[in-house]
Symmetry: C2
Subunit: 215 residues, 2 copies
DNA sequence: AATTATTATCTTGTATACAAGAATATTGAC
DNA sequence: GTCAATATTCTTGTATACAAGATAATAATT
């Protein structure tokens, strides 16, 4: 299925905004973007709309669209929401996950473990993502799964920073083991609670890190 | 703040799709819509994109956009997700809701009660919505609140049907009282559990109703 | 007659042209 | 010199024109 140009541009712009190439409040000039991507304004406008809808930019009528990098408060709110979504996925997964899914989850965690042993932070980052996605999938609720994926993707660049905290990776791994236990046991409440705090900690660590950078 | 034409059209189209004016799988013809709204294809295309992004339509490249009315399975999934979002809101609201918010919540519930006494189903429908929105607001997490509002809005037309079940309104009202109690007591777990089942029941009743209509 | 190949038509996607509101610059008054 | 009013320029929003892929229709071959 061929992507149309506008969608490619939307993806590129998302990446650029994610990577912090544009700072908060900056106006995304249609004409400049058009010349940059060597297209007309039409596909650019389509891409900009997508950014606005996904919350990464704000549109002020007759004035343009402006990138909206989330501030500390909004980030904490998003991590809180993520924690609750993951808890919900865990709750359902405990009751519904198939043996097959549990195997995939354990595999992902094994790859996490070997990444920690190799001290491969970016490998861990990647496999950790898969681990969580297996839980979303295990919830057996396509709508909830896609919502979780959406927010996970939105928080991607911020989770990355957070991994640098010393000792976080091994701690995270231990929590994964507990989560797997709870899911295998079919303990919905425990799985939900573990996942909630697992993600909440991420958010709090991130906050500490950001506060530290300001000093 | 003046809305641009494209946004007005997007809202109109949303309403039309909500009201079931278009059936599932129907193609939304750009030209027909353009002539219908007396505009060019440009604002129509913008509106269609919004529909696609909000999940109310599907876009197939070079083929067009097609309305996507959720089937029974997807609806149940959305109600399940709603239940979890509301539970999350309740959890936070129990800890964070202000006295002011609690008063607004009680007021909304009083208006629900008087609507029940008047046997005013559509009044109840409206005030019930406000009741839940006060809880979202009480969570004191703008991101979670907006996510909850988004899904609440998406489920609007389906909740409406569900109120016709005999005795549901008084039952719902009793549950509201319990929820208020839990929130006043600051009991996060109980508030979450009550809200979860309160909404889950809605989804199940809706399912039963739909199954009944098919016979 | 049925099936495939080719052509014609229709629809989406992109580029360009035009209209209208917003920002900026220039000019005039105090 | 500062402030205000007007004019100019710039940018977004909409309309139209064009390009290319998809569907439908017709013709040709077996």
């Amino acid at each position: 299925m061929e992507l149309k140009r506008a969608e490619q541009i939307a993806d590129s712009l998302e990446q650029l905004v994610f990577q912090g190439k544009y700072e908060d409040g900056q106006r995304l000039d249609e004409i400049k973007l058009a010349t940059h991507f060597s297209v007309s304004r039409t596909p650019i406008r389509e891409a900009l709309q997508r950014l606005v809808m996904s919350g990464m930019a704000e549109q002020i009528p007759r004035r343009g669209v402006f990138v909206r990098q989330p501030g500390p408060v909004e980030l904490l709110e998003m991590f809180e929401t993520m924690a609750e979504l993951e808890a919900a996925c865990g709750r359902f997964a405990a009751a519904r996950m198939t043996d097959d899914g549990l195997v995939r989850l354990a595999d992902a965690n094994d790859r996490c473990r070997s990444a920690v042993e190799r001290e491969d932070a970016s490998g861990y980052y990647l496999e950790n993502e898969t681990f969580h996605q297996e839980i979303y999938r295990g919830a057996t609720n396509a709508h909830l799964e896609s919502e979780a994926l959406r927010l996970q993707n939105r928080l991607k660049p911020y989770r990355r920073v957070q991994l640098r905290v010393r000792g976080r990776m091994t701690q995270s791994l231990a929590e994964h083991d507990e989560i797997i236990d709870a899911l295998k046991a079919g303990d919905a409440q425990r799985a939900a609670d573990l996942l909630r705090s697992h993600v909440t900690v991420q958010g709090e660590r991130f906050q500490q890190l950001m506060a530290g950078l300001k000093n």
